[in-house]
Amino acid sequence: GQRVVPLNTWVLISNFKLAYNLLRRPDGSFNRDLAEFLDRKLPANTNPVDGVFSFDHLDRSTGLLNRVYRPESQLGPPTAPIDLENPLSTTAVVPVIVFFHGGSFTHSSAGSAIYDTFCRRLVPLCGGAVVVSVNYRRSPENRYPCAYDDGWAALKWVKSRPWLRSGKDRNSSDVHVYLAGDSSGGNIAHHVAVKAAEAGISILGNILLHPMFGGEARTESEKRLDGKYFVTVQDRDWYWRAFLPEGESRDHPACNVFGPRSKNLEGMKLPKSLVVVAGLDLIQDWQLAYVEGMERTGNQVKLIFLQDATIGFYFLPNNQHFHCLMEEIKNFVSAA
């Protein structure tokens, strides 16, 4: 496995793998204290770094925390650094990317260094977009549908901020949202998009980075790649058992989105989707089935299949897949 990724990437992801092995208990419980101890975090920072500043926002009534990333150009003077009143722009559309971090519904947070770093990259990449990283509740302490509820709450919060609005003129002012996420975050992005479509809330696009889907069946890719590139079928099963309601199977609609128990997505007018699949990810067959299902139900989807990419290829900017991904995201967000 070491040859496929740069050495430091291999070290990083292997470290996660081993640490995570320590944290998952056979009885389904999770060593949350040790997980938080081991997680490397970064604080929000209103002093700009590489052209991006950030701050955290806490909704007292729900306890939900979002981390907001903005370009330095939006920073006000020292006496009024964070503008929470005026729209982002009255002459142009400024995208707001609502990002759901990965971690198989269990690990990481908006403050995790890997995700803080990733979100920061998206700001200049998408021409000075705002990124809102959602600190959703995690399993096994908070099972389905908590993560989706939090995603939905975050979307409504974002949509209702006057200071996230933009538009070519005052009359077309709106909060222009893209949903994005990796692994479990991609799964959350999908479900939030569905809910938004049902509620008539406009989302401009979905970016799903090796999204976490599954089902009871064992697909060919799962068998072929089991344990080969950092991930095992056994650990995937553990995370689904930790997230889904107790006793549920992986054909639950949260997991198996085009499975026997799922909602029919035909005619739903879901936002256009960019789905990125890593060719060495063992759940790729589920992701490809997702893409196929979206096409079949008349929803616009673009697949990026990265042949020899492993999970987490986007954590470090040291490989071609990373750069390819960044280019695709940039084009996806800027297209009208």
Partner: protein, 505 residues
């Protein structure tokens, strides 16, 4: 140092990368075997230190999985701060070892990380300003801006403008509620004092300020966390000593020591002889606060069977302390711990004070030095920056208090913090004693003074988390590990930091 991993919080030398990779492979094999043999409990019981030092972490994990575990080492259980002075109780003496024996770990404290990573200058390039906004602050954004504009006017000596703005702040604050209103009021008052040069008389009766601190201690977990984490480090340092001496730089009501004494009493093999030297400011009316605290602790020591000796020292400043005054005994006879909770920053107002104290500490030849400080830079040279830092810091602190229920305690706690705010904003020179600095700054200072870090581990982390669950009113408190130090914060904003030190080899 591999720069890409450094950004993600892992310090690995590029030259070590292949070695770390190989060890990770070995570790995977060892863990796989462990699980097959059903000894994966090792995973739960291992004490982890400083995850940022990936090489060190992998090494220690490898030795856990490939070597059989040694004798147990106890560690401090969360002993409720409420029971600081418990009733004399026979059962205390008879607590079964099972109550304290910890799961196995290495038999001695881990060696200091060999590559004692000097703070990488690439990583501390810019000061960080972590801001957590509470939804009410969106509504209060004008209030914040007015306060900041006022501070700016003060810095520019524009008295007329500052005066107008501070009055306007009063109006805006009145329309706010909760923590926002209180914080704004304290900051506005402090600004007014600075503008009109009505400086607060800090000749406050120390017993009054101790009372305020007691309320703060009861209302929220910050002081309990400070005591708990410092005690954990002290306990580990004292593990094999038969005679121990703690020098407390700010004894106050001695709230930190009953828990340590109880843990020492329950040590397998029996407690060491415990000597405490408590330092405090001069008292008015000739009351000897230090002796009174000493008596209380002596009484406790007697009930729990710990040989105890106490000495109090009155000092205007820690810089007045000389090692000869302390009756220090040879290091092989008595292990020394120096403990400072929110005391060291007070020395930064006078030149050479800090250097003197750090030399004095070194002359005490301590086994361990525990330092707890506010995690904020309230000592910058530029007034507006200091003001802004403090505004965000105390906003988070006041927000965290909003969850607590005892309203009497809350008011007193707010007063306690309000005095700090006043000092940071209204005072200058020798009067400004609340010169808080960040862990990064303290690290640099301690390391250049000749100290090496002693890392606090996952056991201390876990127990600190448990302590929070027991006592904290709100569930926004977070413990965070930072390169071997532990920080307690409100949501994502760290507010206090505990670090431990030893003399550099």
């Amino acid at each position: 140092m591999d720069e890409l991993l450094a950004v993600l919080g892992y310090k690995v030398r590029s030259s070590d990368m292949a070695d770390v990779a190989q060890k990770l492979e070995q570790l995977e094999m060892a863990m796989g075997t462990a699980q097959d043999d059903g000894i994966s409990h090792l995973a739960c019981d291992t004490i982890h230190y400083n995850p940022s030092d990936l090489s060190g972490w992998v090494d220690s994990m490898l030795s856990e999985f490939t070597n059989p575990p040694d004798d147990s080492e106890y560690d401090l259980r969360a002993i409720p701060g409420v029971a600081a002075y418990p009733q004399a109780d026979e059962s205390d003496k008879d607590s079964s070892p099972a109550a304290v024996s910890s799961p196995s770990s290495s038999s001695s404290p881990p060696p200091p990380i060999a590559a004692a990573a000097a703070p990488s200058s690439a990583l501390i390039a810019e000061p960080t300003r972590p801001v957590v906004l509470i939804d009410s602050q969106e509504a209060g954004v004008r209030l914040v801006h007015t306060l900041l504009a006022c501070a700016e006017a003060v810095q520019q000596d524009n008295v007329k403008l500052a005066d107008a703005l501070v009055k306007h702040t009063g109006l805006l604050a009145a329309s706010q509620t909760g923590a926002m209103r209180k914080v704004a009021t304290y900051f506005a008052e402090a600004l007014a004092r600075r503008i009109y040069k009505i400086y607060p008389q800090d000749c406050l009766d120390p017993s009054y300020s101790d009372t305020l601190e007691m309320h703060f201690y009861e209302t929220c977990p910050y002081l309990k966390f400070a005591h708990f984490t410092a005690n954990q480090a002290i306990l580990e340092a004292f593990a094999t000593a038969n005679r121990v001496h703690v020098i407390d730089f700010g004894l106050k009501q001695g709230m930190q020591w009953p828990a340590l004494m109880q843990a020492l009493a329950l040590r397998p093999g029996g407690p060491p002889a415990f000597r405490l030297t408590g330092i405090g400011p001069p008292q008015p009316n000739n009351t000897d606060n230090l002796q009174q605290v000493g008596w209380k602790l002596a009484h406790l020591a007697e009930t729990i069977g710990v040989e105890f000796e106490f000495r109090g020292f009155v000092a205007n400043s820690l810089a007045d302390l000389e090692p000869e005054m302390l009756d220090l005994r040879p290091a092989d006879v008595e292990a020394v711990a120096v403990n400072s909770v929110f005391e060291l920053h007070r020395l930064l107002g006078r030149s050479a004070g800090m250097d003197k104290v750090l030399s004095t500490i070194k002359a005490m030849k301590p086994k361990i030095v525990t330092v707890v400080e506010q995690e904020a830079n309230h000592n910058g040279p530029v007034f507006v920056d200091r003001f802004t830092e403090a505004l965000h810091y105390y906003s988070s602190l006041f927000d965290s208090l909003e969850g607590s229920t005892a309203s009497q305690d809350l008011v007193m706690s707010e007063l306690y913090l309000g005095r700090q705010i006043c000092n940071v904003v209204a005072c200058e020179g020798g009067d400004r004693v609340e010169r808080h600095e960040t862990l990064t700054q303290w690290r640099a200072r301690m390391e250049s003074a000749g100290f090496d870090p002693v890392h606090l581990g996952s056991n201390a982390y876990k127990q600190a988390s448990m302590l929070l669950a027991l006592f904290a009113g709100g569930d926004g408190y977070r413990v965070e590990e930072n390169n071997g130090a532990l920080m307690l914060g409100w949501h994502t904003r760290p507010l206090i930091a505990t670090s431990a030190w030893q003399l550099a080899r």
